[in-house]
Symmetry: C2
Subunit: 253 residues, 2 copies
DNA sequence: TTATCATTGTGTCACAATCACACAATGGTG
DNA sequence: CACCATTGTGTGATTGTGACACAATGATAA
C-alpha cells in the first residue's frame, strides 16, 4: 500500500512537469534476420503490450521529447526520426483505463479524459539497441512486424500507419541505412528493401537494384569484403555522409 | 470596460470547453488569376495577420475540429483537407502575447504558457469561399502566396511547410481539382500545376501534359466548350468521381 | 589437393515512359 | 473576310526501367 502511494506520487510529479493533453508515441523499426521488427513494451503485471511513448515536458521542444523518449528506451543517441501523423480520435485514449492497466485505483485518476498523440517512427540499428523498460512496464523487446499482438489504445493503428508512411518514403527516396550496420553488402541492402516494401525475396532484380543504388553516387565501395559466409565474398559498402547529404538536397522538394 | 469583461467571459467559456494545450492551424489554398492564394485573418485592432485556426472541443475528433474551423471561415462544407505536420517548438506560442494582441490585459492571461498546433492544409474553390471573420479578428481575405506578410507566432513557417507538403503530394499524385470549378479546361489545369509547382508559364509541354492527365482515365470530356475568350474554344472537362476513386485506389501504397 | 556449386560481379538488349517538336483546324477580332 | 492566337492531334528521339547470361570467386566436401 505504501508502495502504491509512492508510485502514484512519482507519476503525478512527472505528470505535473509535462503537458497533459498531449503525448508522443514512437514506432521503432529494426531489421534482423531479414525481418522487420518493432520495439514494444509490456505494462506491469499484465499481458498488454504498447508502443514506447511518453509525455512532453512543459519546456521541451516536441522533437526533443521524441529523442529523449527513444534514448530512454533504446540507449541510442543519434537516431533517424520522422514525425508522420498526429492521432486525435476522441475515443482513442481514456485516463481511467490507464489507471486500471497500471494496477492503480481508477477513481484516483489524474490523467486527462482525453489525449492526442503525435506519432513518430524511428529507424535504428538492431544490434545496438538495448531495450530498457520504464516505470510503467516490465518487459521491452522486439516483435516481428507480422506478429504484432493486439496493442493498447489505438497503437495498432499507429503502428500500421507508421509502416505505410515508411513504405511511402522508401518508394521515392533512398534511405534506411540507419537500419544496417555501418558497413554492409548490397545484398543486405536489397533484402532490407524487399522486406520493408513487403516483397518476396529476390523480387527485385539483383543487378538492376545494385545499378540503381550505385547510380545515386553516395555509396562507397570498401577494399574489405565480407567473409565468413560460404561462397564468394561480397564487397562491403558504406554511406559517404557528404555525398549522401548532396543526394538528399537534390532530391528535396 | 464592461465590454472587455464580456469578451473575456466569452473567450474563457469557449476555452473551457476545449483542449487547452493544443490547437489547429489551417492553410487554406485557393486558385485565382493563375495565382495561388492563402486565406489569412487580421486580429482586431492591429495589423497582425495569422492563419485561420482554433481549438479542439473536448469531445471532438481532431479532424472534425479542422472541418468545423474551415466551415466557420469559408462557409464550405466539403473540403479537401490534409493533416501535414504538428508544430511543437517550445517558443512557438505565448499566452501573454495572445492576450496583448487581442487588446486584453496580459496579467489576466488564462491561455496556457505553451501550445502545440496540428497543421492542416485545405484546397478549396476560390469563387465559392465567403471569407468570414471570427471573434478575434476583423478582416479575412485572400493573399497571394508570394506576398504573405509577416504572420503571428510560427505561422510563416507553417504556411511554407504546407506549401512544401502540397508540392510533394502534387509531384506523385494527380489532385488539385478541388481548386478549380467543376468544369474546367485542360489549359486551366495546366496553369494550376505550373503555379503550384512553382514553374513558369508553359514550362510544362501542353501536349505531353494533356496526354498524361488524360491517360489516368478519370477525366471526362464534355460536349460543351468554353466560349467567351478570343480564339478557338477549348473543350471543358470534369472529374468522373468513380473513375477518380479507382485511380486513387490503384495509386495508393 | 581439387572438383563442386552457390553466390558475386558485370554488360547487353528489349520495352516503356518521357520529352521535344510541327501542322492543320477553329473561331473571335478588327 | 483576312488575320492570328490558340486548340487538337501524331511522330520520332531520348531516357529510364526491366529482363536476362556468363565468367569469376572462394568456402565446402570428397
Amino acid at each position: 500500500m505504501e508502495k502504491l502511494i509512492t508510485v502514484l506520487g512519482e507519476i503525478k510529479a512527472l505528470f505535473n512537469r509535462s503537458l497533459s493533453e498531449l503525448s508522443i508515441d514512437c514506432v521503432v523499426f529494426g531489421f534482423h534476420d531479414d525481418q522487420l521488427k518493432v520495439l514494444l513494451l509490456r505494462t506491469k503485471g499484465s499481458d498488454s503490450w504498447m508502443l514506447p511513448g511518453g509525455w512532453i515536458l512543459k519546456t521541451e521542444n516536441l522533437e526533443d521529447a521524441a529523442y529523449r523518449i527513444l534514448k530512454e528506451r533504446t540507449g541510442l543517441d543519434s537516431i533517424f526520426l520522422q514525425q508522420f501523423q498526429t492521432f486525435g480520435a476522441n475515443n482513442r485514449y481514456n485516463g481511467k483505463e490507464i489507471m486500471a492497466r497500471l494496477g492503480l485505483p481508477p477513481e484516483q485518476n489524474f490523467f486527462p479524459e482525453r489525449a492526442v498523440s503525435v506519432g513518430y517512427y524511428a529507424l535504428v540499428e538492431y544490434s545496438l539497441v538495448e531495450p530498457k523498460t520504464d516505470f510503467f512496464t516490465e518487459e521491452c523487446r522486439w516483435w516481428d512486424i507480422g506478429e504484432i499482438p493486439e496493442l493498447l489504445f489505438d497503437h495498432n493503428d499507429i503502428a500500421s500507419r507508421a509502416l505505410r508512411a515508411l513504405r511511402k518514403q522508401f518508394d521515392h527516396e533512398a534511405l534506411g541505412f540507419n537500419l544496417l550496420s555501418e558497413k554492409f553488402t548490397l545484398i543486405e541492402l536489397q533484402r532490407l528493401y524487399e522486406t520493408i516494401l513487403g516483397l518476396e525475396k529476390d523480387k527485385l532484380d539483383r543487378r538492376n537494384f545494385q545499378k540503381k543504388i550505385l547510380s545515386y553516387g553516395f555509396l562507397e565501395r570498401l577494399e574489405e569484403r565480407k567473409t565468413g559466409g560460404a561462397h564468394k565474398a561480397p564487397y562491403l559498402y558504406r554511406v559517404d555522409p557528404e555525398k549522401y547529404a548532396i543526394y538528399q538536397r537534390e532530391n528535396e522538394l
